[in-house]
Symmetry: D2
Subunit: 363 residues, 4 copies
């Protein structure tokens, strides 16, 4: 029913791609937290289109304007709200699509859901542009988390068939995550980034697109955060991460691989490390047992489907005439949104982890 | 914070494995719905242990007793509550484990979360036994859904390295699902079931355990159900399915495979079928676009990790002495819970789909 | 939609008067809290009928049975659930009422709401008996609060036209509240209690009933608890107190009297007391400004309507025949439920205050 | 924790009096509803200050700007958001008050709640200005309700000791409510309005202020709307109405008067009217039994305390020096906000009733 989320840290995301604006309300954050504005803008920039020759060339100014909840860079404790104006609206481009749903987009399902009243221009409320307020919310939350020793970062684990090494499940550290979370196309291995870019450029030349997998890690999270059943770490992260458009799969720790392991392989043995800290030898659990953190790095992966907007001719229906038709999507589109999905997924994690800490009374 | 779920159809699950009882409250169901009790018991039986030579031999009587919300088999509209008494409690078996967390179990994370006050006997609130009230809730919901033409069923897609064919994403029908949802160890191919059983028996003999993947389908769901962002079909299903213990991954439609496809491969082309219905040629979306149903079969897969309780000696810590130790888990345990996870995951889907319909005003 | 409440401290109340049982789930309480069972029973006894010659003579055994969430009298952190069996069911008494709604009862509105499928026996889910699980929940919460220096108590401020003195808004102390919260028919002045009893007895003899006002106080609540807008102290208390059947009005501090005051009369002047504590000279705010506690005693009053079940002949309709009819309610009913409403309203306050503390991170 | 509300119709109100802006998100409204903008502005105007010689003379431009959720005056089904810019900010006026809390205001309780980080300028998030987004939300909802035959309106029942006749509880009709809901200082009797104005002017001259009671009615609401326990009509209305600053009491139907009645007086007898409709002879229940509507007019009254901002010298504390001090509030303030509270309370009712209809599947 809703673009609102959370119990302690309440998030409301609003807007449509070609409406006057889009924005966000974040309620329940602790008063007195200092927010570094440059850090916020840096995160917004990572998500913004047009930085990469392979990415969409549309100019999109995503400068958020804080309406309330912050005075002189310090949170007041009242709802924090920011708005991003929509400036460049080429609404003509979309009118032809009203009754011809684009394959892989929400056009048809939204048509049914809203009886045709939804704003279809630019994808409306379903536009990837709506990840901008999410990234804003995450940029605020991650600063609060960082102050408590918690770091969040992700990388492009794969694009199409190009795949780099995953995180080291046991030794993943905050330095790695911090470095990644400052990059535009974050990877652990720069050579792999070049291979991925080549694959994306080839897809673009083929009038096609690519998907990929984003891997995200959280370090510094104390053990004992989360709850059994419906408010487990996996549940809350999932309820957020699946809000990022194009995400079709999510796994924690060994995830789907764990399904093929034996118990003796998959179980993470406990031991006391040299500092007397309880650790696990492996971390197939991804830092979560019974919905609750163990204190080991939290690791998850999200599958991002290929951009549905492709220049190739596609089959569709005409909902007005009731006939089958062909469709060509014009305009320039990202042949691969995976690099830009990383900050959105990191942001989703940042908000969810803030909520989890708040629920555990540790914020 | 919570073992409560939902906005329209509210679900509360309570209980601990060796407490007096476990149970469920389901609030918001429509008054006047007739509930077939035998159908409820049949679903409970699918989840119950001890049916299979390979499964745990503990006797567990899971007969639910309805406390309220139903008169003469018809829902009254008030909260429906049922309780299952815990009868066979061998609490001695567990006392030795209090300060020696079992690898792969929630013992350690729960110890931190509840400062050691949680009921550890039999896993307490984290026990797989808590899926019994979930299956009860699902058994009620699926009857309400069936009356509206919606069928839910799942199968064991894989156990260890043995894998059968997945659902036919486009032509999956209600007959298939209905048949599966009446079986104890549901598979599409009976020969594969035998292979899986052999693999499980081998794991048991090796004092080990196996995981697997459950695939679940929903047919008859009208298009236009669900919402963007946080109340999408994926979000609500995930918030439920990750409540089933041992689930570590979830994917919809092509899921993680979609991450390796091109847009032209992954996009599902729309067309009018011979009855003038909008259909898609493929169904990589798993029946969901933009968080909203398309009217095609809803298909998802959940990764179930191998049973953490294994007889082999394992490393652990002693939280009292602060020393590393070894641990042997005695008692008999399921070497593979995947077959019994199917009805639990189907139940999770049934409750989530009922909520989704209610949110869309279609219940 | 729902008999579930709360965000941090989630409460689910279920049951119908003549079903198998009624009960409660309370989720989110801190692990490790010791619960004095005698104290719980003492609170249950205050609400139970049949203690007073003037009250209903039905025998009602309200002994709660804890199903889970507590081991050896200590909360485990998992959902706490208790069930009360319904033993004495005279269902015949009610069948005649199915299509003849009793004036002042929920019979007619519930008939519309549930299309006649609701359980009408004994009032079903609308029965005053459903305050028993609420009192149980309150009895648990008040022990947790007491351990944090917070005391809750109420008194019968008025019955019919008999009225005793209200609380001293500034000097109300925990001793007074503790004393009241141990009484069956709690009043500040024992002579007034006798007057009230006489009025009730007279009403009974006149085949009629009386209402009254319950005043409730909370001391020891720190300042700074609560939130503006929708999660203010007034909002949360109201959402709870109006769940007690027969409550038709609620006011905080000077309440409706404040509406007749001038600002200079109503404003509570701040000052430092001899211990350097900020206090107010008066307490017309009832301890709440802007939805947030001031540290002064929290005081509110609830208006309880007279018992609708009276022996006098009354007009009603026959929903089956579509004709006007007359109705006589047989059986024995409380001519005044106000004394028994006190523990229910105290319990509502106890749960709401626990939630407020949890929301403020002070639990 | 939160300035967010609702389950089906989610409302988020954000802003601080002297921040960049204030605003509202309303999520879950049905797509396709036409919104008359002039009607919205008319409701905003009723709440705006400066219309009345007796009211505050500050110029406040409350023109809302819709950001999203509406195209060509029709709701799209996505979140509706509107922002009101704050233009005239005299922040100097307030700096002196930071450590000297104004009696009757939230200054002190908010200071504790937010450890002094809250934005105190103009009352911050606690400002009466925050009722502007609420009135916006109500103005949208009431148009949706009107289309379904439901009318909402209120009047100033009393100001100080001047009181007019209350609504006719049985025969209250939509014409009366419609007329009232178009007025600035709505009363049933224009002569009483003059008396009230005189009383307000006298209070102003005495450097003092007045409170009053707002009575609000809803007609056309079908029977069977609402739920027992925590989602009853009273509960939901209360959770909204207490969000309007200065409200300290709330009663439904006969309310506190019912507490002094006998059952035979208070019970509303049912009968079939000449059209075969079930009606009640009286309406002491205010249209609600068991938390569910009866189909009779819904009537409630809210007690509004006198404006705490008065020019008279008042006692307070200096939180910095720890000394008692005196305080004079400068600037011009409404000596009576009751007339402007009417549209805010009507708006609260409009949102709550829309939620109630949605919960009952009748929207």
């Amino acid at each position: 029913m809703s673009s609102m989320w959370g119990e302690r840290i309440k998030l409301s995301i609003f807007g449509e791609s070609h409406a006057e604006g889009i924005g966000v309300v974040l309620d329940g954050l602790p008063a007195g937290e200092k927010i570094d504005w440059d850090e916020v803008l840096a995160q917004m920039a990572r998500r913004a289109p047009g930085q990469d020759p392979s990415a969409t060339s549309r100019v999109e100014k995503d400068l958020p304007k804080v309406l309330c909840g912050m005075v002189d860079g310090v949170l007041t404790g009242a709802p924090l709200s920011a708005v991003i104006s929509n400036t460049s609206q080429h609404s003509r481009d979309y009118e032809a699509l009203r009754f011809r749903p684009r394959p892989g987009h929400a056009d048809y399902s939204a048509y049914l859901r809203y009886q045709g009243y939804n704003d279809i221009r630019g994808g409306g409320h379903f536009s990837g542009r709506l990840t901008a307020p999410l990234v804003f919310a995450g940029a605020v939350c991650r600063q609060i988390l960082k102050r408590r020793g918690i770091e969040i970062g992700g990388h492009v684990l794969s694009v199409g068939s190009v795949r780099e090494e995953p995180f080291k499940e046991v030794s993943l550290n905050s330095e790695t995550l911090e470095k990644l979370s400052g990059q535009y196309f974050p990877v652990l291995s720069p050579e792999k980034r070049e291979e991925m870019k080549t694959a994306i450029e080839n897809a673009r030349l083929a009038l096609d697109s690519l998907g990929g997998v984003v891997e995200c890690g959280v370090t510094g999270l104390p053990g004992g955060v989360g709850s059994p059943m419906f408010d487990g770490v996996e549940n809350l992260l999932a309820s957020m991460v699946f809000a990022v458009p194009a995400v079709k799969g999510l796994e924690f720790g060994a995830g789907f691989q764990a399904a093929g392991m034996t118990g003796s392989e998959n179980n993470d043995a406990f031991y006391y490390d040299e500092n007397g800290q309880v650790k696990t030898r492996t971390n197939h659990a991804g830092g979560i047992l019974g919905g609750i953190t163990t204190g080991m790095p939290l690791i998850f992966r999200a599958a991002v489907k290929p951009t549905p907007s492709i220049a190739r001719k596609q089959e569709t229906v005409n909902l007005k005439t009731g006939k089958n038709e062909e469709l060509s999507i014009t305009g320039r589109h990202d042949p691969c949104i995976v690099p830009r999905a990383v900050p959105a997924i990191e942001a989703a994690a940042a908000v969810a982890v803030t909520e989890l800490l708040a629920q555990s009374g540790k914020l």
